[in-house]
Amino acid sequence: MAAPLTLLLIVAVTIRAALFRSSLAELIAERVEVVSPITAWKRVVEGLALLDLGVSPYSGDVFHETPLIIYMFHFLVDYAEITFMVSLNKNIILKHFVVEFRKQKFALEADRYPMDSLELIRSPKEMYYIPLKVAMFYLLNPFTILSCVAKSTCGLNNAVLALFFLSTIKGNVLLSAIFLCLATYQSIYPITLCAPAMLYFMQRQYIPVNFRRVSFWWFIVQYLFMYLGSLFVLICLSFFLLGSWDYLPSVYGFILSVPDLTPNIGLFWYFFAEMFEHFRLFFLCVFQINVFFYTIPLSIKLKEHPVFLMFMQLAVISIFKSYPTVGDVALYLAFLPVWSHLHRFLRNIFLVSCVLLACSVLFPVLWHLWIYAGSANSNFYYAITLLFNVAQILLVSDYFYAFLRREHHLTNGLYLKRKDGSEATLILK
């Protein structure tokens, strides 16, 4: 496993290094699909320049990164490319470990199920290549390559999330809380990952998920204390770094209130560009609640399967966040090989992959037609945005369906028969 992984790493680093040195790097760094106002490298450089000039970086509307990022890049600005590549490689090694630990869980489940559904369980031999596939899906994904070459800070965010996954799966509660807090500190949405993390730890420590048990609440209090404590420390540290609370409205206010309507691959920009002023606040609240809204129902349904819950949450965040980029999409796409055993139950995978591919190609084309050629208008780009998001939603719900169906087969047997003996079909009722 080490040799193919190393080879893969070398190939990935070579591709990125080659692109860094070419003239494409500047072109890619300007693409709206790859960078957003929160993650653009140009804005980080601007913020650093403002800091050097003695002006607060948050006094204008250009810079929306957290103070820790400024200070990190203050020292690393000359080594920016290397930083991004290191975070990328860390990302991949962590996912590798994540998948290793998933194997153990599968082995435990084998004896609980009826005989004919054993073919649904994966043998360790089948699972041997999954870490490599995950690494390949992430490293060689064009979305990740573009995101890394553009030096978008989304890569750093993904690295922190990967660290969170690793520490959660390894069972380290404190580290998991700290990394989750770092991820939340950068963009607010990962707070919804608290629920799957807590469920995973409870499962691991054999605490039953029951509202009436004290141990359940005690664990939640512990975890939340660690999480909120580190968040508090980070926020105060940021205050002391820059000496003012300026960054709160610039970073979190910006993410939540969406004042910048630059086109991206998400749903927010055109919606709020065409919104009647009277209803703006209402729809803003609706769209933001939409991201956090699925946490509780999904947690209740998937309380036995926290890892899949993490995947679902991650996907929901990437689709519905206020400024999504292809880097966020690449993060949850990288986890798909972990659920490769669900392939036989997926219904729409061909359609979804075709639509995703077509949309990725059409994004730059229609952008060019709108902005540079002037022969299209904003509706063309908006339509492709809608289609891209529909395809993502279909993908996620398809995987959810497949997962639930597999669970049903695991408990009830694979080849179901109706009362009269003929083959049965399953529907959702």
Partner: protein, 576 residues
Amino acid sequence: MAAHRCSCSSWLFILFSLSVFVVADIHETTPVNDHHGGADHNAQTAEQTADQPAVEGRRWEATEVKEAATVDAAADTQGTSAPETVVPSSVPQPKDDFQEELVIRPLHSGDIYASFQFRTLWDTDFMRENKVSHYRLFPKSLGQVISKFSVRELHISFTQGYWRTMQWGQPFIPSPPGAELWVWFQDSVTDVDATWKELTNVLSGIFCASLNFIDSTNTVQPSASFKPLGIGNVTDHSFLRYATLPREIVCTENLTPWKKLLPCGSKAGLAVLLKSEKLFHSSFHSQAVHIRSVCQDWQCKTTSWELRQTVNSVFDLHNSGQAKREWSLFKMFSRTLTEACPLASSSKLYIDITDNPQGEQFELSPATSLLSQAVVLGDRRTFSVYDLTQETTFGSVRSLNLLIRWKSNEGYIHYEPSKDRVKPHLLEMLIQLPPNSVTEVTVQFERALLKWTEYPPDPNHGFYVGSSVISSLVPSTVAMDTNSTRERPLFSSFFPCKEESSYFVRIYTEPLLVNLPTPDFSMPYNVICLTCTVVAVGYGSLYNLLTRSFQIEEPNPGLAKRIANVIRKMRGVPPL
């Protein structure tokens, strides 16, 4: 007896006064082409000294001056209290003399021009019947070439790169890219072409260059230009041969034999700086050898052979990977100077500070108090001088690493970034524009998409960005009147005049019309519906999966059976 004593004492007095004048002369400013030896001229130079205090006299040809001094004080040699620089004629003239100098000129673009010159003067006659055999400072290979091929003048240069006159000014020793060789032969040569062919082959061996490709296809005999640079009557141009090989590439194999021709080689003196890995990492570098006969004195009674070896190079600021404008000997040559060549009679380092009179553009360290002026290329330039023959130049660390640091004239920058829908950008800069230059200020911007209500009624016209303003105090050629209350026409009294030598001017640039991308203004309701539909698709599919469970599908019973089931349910009987 008394008359005799009187005449003796008068002679003594005349000689003494002459020697005093000579002493004063030597210590005063001596511009390059002045000739020495006249009392009236001494008076002139005395005046010049009064105007320019503490300026060291600069000599291009030291031996000439010494000759002049001794000619003036020829009659009396023992009685005068001669200072150390006047050589009494009882000591024999040094037959050969070696001088080395390095001139560093910072260029406007931040690049730096370094010019080395190594000169060996030798009072000998190569054309004598008995061959010259004892070589000291003059290289033997070149001496044998001169005598064997009866060369009157020889000029050879190897250059890599092209000299950019517009950006760098004029070089001290110009040269074309590639190799160039031009030779004047003596009148005694019978078959010039054969001699030329042999000469090129021998030089090709000496300099490890492919000069053997010089043949009749690339040799010419110019009649108007390339007149001899040394002494001698201008004779028939059939004794001149000129050839150039533009394709010749200069590499370390050419530099190494070139360095071997120097008396100290590359072991001491200024030649230690000539290391090929740094020297060839420059935009332009050229090495040349020039051999000619020169006069030893003003009357040109005796001649001597002069060999000049020169290296010109221009180091690129950006190529060297530096962010700041700062040059040092170590950065240019990856070496520092530790001593002068022991065989050199003078070893000096000149830095051109004409553009930096008060030290406001760049600063030199270590500082030096020696200054010199010279008229070169039609311009009088001032140089700071470091004399390497003196121990004090090297300081306590025993090495000289000259540092030229540019002072950043950042000026004052006031920048207020904009906040969307609250305030605009404000950028104010106080800058000093260097002379004869173009300054560009660029600002990167991104186009934003606004809310549909924020566009003006004709959104496709674009948005205007106001003019930039340049305010400046321009030097005035005419003295201005600072008294604003005096009766003046109205058109001359708008701007207040604070000082006489400059006037205030304000210039506005053109406004900018920027075309912003517009959303489709006819679609607000459609957009809201479509986006909400997509969100609803997500909500709907997840709701389905969350609230429903899998069940085996019961086939749909026929219509009759369904009605029967309904009736049975009403009766309370189990269905079919």
